[in-house]
């Protein structure tokens, strides 16, 4: 029996990463997998004022931080929500408001620092434990983190060119997605995505021993329901209008290849399970900002080469 603990879309939430590293023993899992979107989406500036105090806002609430302890505590709160705290001077703060390149550069720095810190935490926690840790990049992750993940000792990673063996099973990963309104790092039009998937599948020899770790969920599977957006990125109908936004290429590849298991993420609101032919497709969803680790716990019968059972949990 192989027991997989699968999560996705942590987006920099430090508390979720810590729970992720503890999930192996907690659920008796052999391998813990972060399916994609490792890094955060926002930086919170902690600005040093002329009088030496620091000011910052979180969730619309402005704090004046007067001691190093207060700053560290604030930074912890920020990181638990998946944001990156950055300490800046008044001048840097003003400059960042006027220069997008400076923001871009700082983002790159904090995302790489954050990923390195997470890798180090994994090594401290799980080196020699016998529990495998896999973290794959996806559309919201800049390409620069790939090298960090590849170079890590305890954390393993995979992409369409690098499948991962899980005992007798082969996990094929695909962090690229169909286009989103945000034009993120790893997006491709459906025909191009189909080519990428086809290329990735050359490593998979037997559907019964193949696991897809495709970030984009299959189109129309109910794992891909997201609130419809207007052109200005506001919700249609107060967020009540829901539409499928998954990938048709992913759907077609599952339908045609029929892997034993297909793991997805990307659409945080669309937690669920679906059967596409013989394939069990799962999206555990994500509540990273609240520090809830949504996950799929999947037990695979190695002899029968099929999923014995699965459970979607809120750890």
């Amino acid at each position: 029996m192989v027991k997989i603990f699968f999560v996705t879309d942590l987006h920099g939430s430090e508390i979720c990463w810590k729970k992720f590293l503890n999930a192996g023993p907690f659920y008796g899992a052999d391998v813990v997998i972060l399916g994609g979107d490792v890094t955060g989406k926002a930086m919170v500036p902690i600005v040093q004022r002329a009088n030496g105090t620091w000011e910052a806002s979180l969730q619309d609430h402005r704090d004046t931080l007067e001691s190093e302890d207060a700053i560290v505590e604030f930074e912890k709160r920020v990181m638990n929500r998946g944001y990156y705290p950055i300490r800046v001077s008044d001048q840097e703060y003003v400059a960042m408001q006027e220069d997008e390149d400076l923001v871009d550069k700082r983002f790159k720095e904090v995302m790489l620092e954050g990923t390195e810190r997470w890798i180090a935490m994994a090594e401290d926690k799980l080196a020699g434990s016998g529990i495998r840790v896999i973290a794959c990049p996806a559309n919201d992750d800049m390409f620069e983190i790939d090298d960090l993940l590849t170079g890590a000792r305890v954390v393993e990673t995979g992409d369409e060119e690098h499948p991962i063996q899980l005992g007798d099973f082969t996990m094929v990963s695909m962090g690229w997605t169909n286009p989103t309104p945000w034009h993120t790092f790893r997006e491709a039009e459906e025909p191009d995505l189909a080519v990428r998937i086809e290329r990735a599948l050359t490593a998979a020899t037997d559907p019964q021993t193949t696991i897809f770790n495709f970030h984009a969920p299959p189109y129309g599977s109910k794992l891909d329901n997201a609130p419809a957006l207007n052109a200005d990125l506001t919700y249609v109908s107060g967020g009540q209008a829901i539409r499928p936004v998954g990938s048709t290429s992913v759907y077609e590849s599952i339908k045609r290849y029929q892997p034993m298991l297909s793991l997805h993420g990307h659409i945080h609101e669309s937690k669920g399970a679906a059967r596409i032919g013989k394939t069990l497709a799962l999206n555990p969803g994500s509540s990273y900002e609240e520090g809830i680790l949504q996950a799929a716990v999947v037990s695979i019968d190695e002899k029968k080469r099929k999923v014995k059972n699965y459970q979607l949990v809120n750890g």
């Binding site: 810590k18 969730q59 703060y93 559309n139 109908s237 829901i242």
Partner: protein, 546 residues
């Protein structure tokens, strides 16, 4: 890259999936406003039964109810803020109170009982659209059919199929329908308000007498006969003129009636965006709050105009007479319900204008009908994803993307319940349980909200709600407690007072049966899943952080 903030940015965002800019306040308001529907639930289920408490006053009762439902709005906005995108009562209660309680309260309140709401919706379609149209066009055969058991079942079946179709359209399609319905409905409402404002009571009396003679075969002063019949049916005076005295006392007895209508501004809890804070809490709350208070404002205007135009005693007498005929203990001067738009339309003495008014008011029904099953789908899916229900019930068809089994689980029982409703007398007395059971579910969420800051401390403290306190007590605890107290007040009256016709022993057995069914399903699921190696109690166990 983008900076967020008004004058100086409080955070910098990069391009990343899911970063939305919120939603229009109007859209958030719209769904809430159509859920706490003044014309369907308000006119039919709340304002038509005021005469059963002849010594109560509706205006203060409405204001008191509004204040307490405001606490419910704040509580639900708080729960959304702490657990956004979670999926509503089922998930909130499961996480805070435990999976068993969450399942028990959610499936009864958001699934089973909505089978029961199908005939309620159907009956409203009948009395507000089909029967008035048949009356206006003097289609006696159709009127007789609609008043018969077969007719009632037919209308219920139409409603079930319509609601099922709207679910299959998806919320996006339905939201568009709802918006159009809102505009048509509001224009129609404004039109009759103008007639009621500028028309005279004597003019209405004359018009009513004339149309009662033309359409229903009445003779003489039918207006006066209506009041006299009402006094007989009510075994005493109808109601005093409008006022504010007593502000409390018997006026409070009207509140459980008003809650058949006014308790639902939170029906479609809105999504919460990512990378947002307290401003989103206020926005979510604002949508529901406007939905509630604009509805109350509309109701107050209507009540004042009804008093001026129809005469308050006539309005209430006509309603009492209708209920007397429904429950078979009295007579009425009209063979159809005294639907206010129909009464106003008599003023024009024109069949087409009357029909146009009734059809335009039908938009209030259409904009509301889709709410019947939409929430049920979410609960069924969530329970299936938690492995309590079989995986199959969350299937969607590959071709049409329709939740086939979820629809079957709603439509088939709803049709069976509709048949019971149409063909058996006792079922009609049970329909008010629908409100009671949902109120119990809301009560569970109010309790969950009250204890949330302690039971889920980390979750609460990381939310924007943690900033809001009253005298040092978390706001969500204060409003949760007040909401629970308000719901407890209503539940106590519904359970203990014959006035509300929901404390019938058979009715309570039926309701208990639904809870028993939910318990049985949960226990069976626990046993079956345990044998499959799945521990249902593990769903909401928090993983240690350190």
């Amino acid at each position: 890259m983008a900076a967020v903030g008004e004058e100086a940015p409080t955070l910098f965002l990069r391009k990343a999936t899911g970063l939305v800019k919120g939603w229009s306040k109007f859209d958030a308001f719209l769904y809430s406003f159509m859920s706490v529907n003044f014309v369907t639930l308000g006119l039919f289920f709340a304002l038509s039964v005021l005469a059963f408490v002849p010594t109560g006053q509706v205006l203060p009762a409405l204001l008191i109810s509004g204040v307490f439902v405001t606490f419910l709005v704040v509580t639900y906005a708080g729960l959304i803020s702490v657990m956004p995108r979670a999926g509503g009562d089922y998930v909130w209660q499961s996480r805070v109170l435990g999976g068993g309680i969450g399942f028990l309260l959610a499936v009864t309140g958001w699934w089973f009982i909505l089978w029961y709401w199908a005939p309620i919706y159907g009956n409203i379609l009948n009395v507000e659209v089909f029967q008035p149209l048949a009356a206006i066009f003097e289609l006696d055969g159709v009127s007789d059919f609609l008043a018969s058991n077969n007719g009632l079942f037919f209308v219920c079946a139409v409603t079930v199929v319509l609601a099922g179709y709207l679910v299959s359209l998806g919320m996006e399609g339905y939201a568009k329908v709802q918006k159009v319905c809102f505009y048509i409905g509001m224009i129609a409402l404004a039109a009759i308000f103008l007639v009621m404002l500028f028309g005279s009571k004597s003019g209405f009396q004359s018009a009513f007498n004339q149309e009662a003679a033309n359409l229903f075969g009445g003779s003489g002063n039918v207006y006066a006969q209506t009041i006299a019949t009402g006094a007989v049916n009510n075994a005493g005076p109808i109601v005093p003129d409008l006022g504010f005295s007593p502000f409390f006392g018997d006026t409070l007895l009207l509140i459980p009636f008003l809650c058949f209508w006014i308790l639902w501004p939170n029906w479609g809890a809105t999504l919460y965006g990512e990378v947002r804070g307290a401003s989103d809490f206020r926005r979510v709350m604002g949508g529901m709050m406007w939905g509630l208070w604009i509805t109350i404002a509309v109701a107050v205007v209507f009540i004042l105009l009804a008093s001026k135009f129809f005469g308050w005693q006539f309005f209430n007498a006509a309603n009492v007479n209708y209920w007397a005929t429904v429950y078979g203990y009295g007579d009425a001067t009209m063979p159809v319900w005294s639907y206010a738009p129909l009464l106003v339309s008599f003023y024009f003495h024109n069949t087409l204008i009357s029909a146009l008014i009734i059809i335009a008011f039908g938009a209030w029904f259409l904009g509301w009908a889709g709410t019947l099953f939409l929430s049920s789908t979410r609960v069924i899916f969530a329970a299936a994803f938690d492995r309590i229900l079989p995986e199959k019930v969350a299937d969607v068809s590959e071709r049409k993307h329709v939740p086939v089994w979820a629809l079957v689980l709603m439509l088939v029982p709803a049709l069976i319940v509709s048949a019971f409703y149409a063909y058996t007398a006792t079922f009609k007395t049970w329909i008010l349980d629908a409100t009671l059971v949902i109120a119990v579910t809301f009560f569970g969420s109010a309790v969950a909200a009250t204890v949330l800051p302690w039971v889920k401390k980390r979750l609460y403290e990381s939310s924007p709600m943690a900033r809001y306190k009253v005298l040092g007590i978390p706001l969500i605890t204060v409003t949760g407690f007040l909401t629970a107290a308000f719901l407890g007040f209503n539940l106590w009256h519904w359970f203990s007072n014959d006035l509300y016709a929901v404390n019938d022993p058979d009715s309570l057995y039926f309701m208990g049966g639904m809870y028993l069914l939910a318990i049985v399903i949960y226990i069976v699921a626990r046993v079956v899943r345990k044998n499959q190696g799945i521990d249902l109690s593990a769903i909401h166990k928090e993983i240690p952080v350190e």
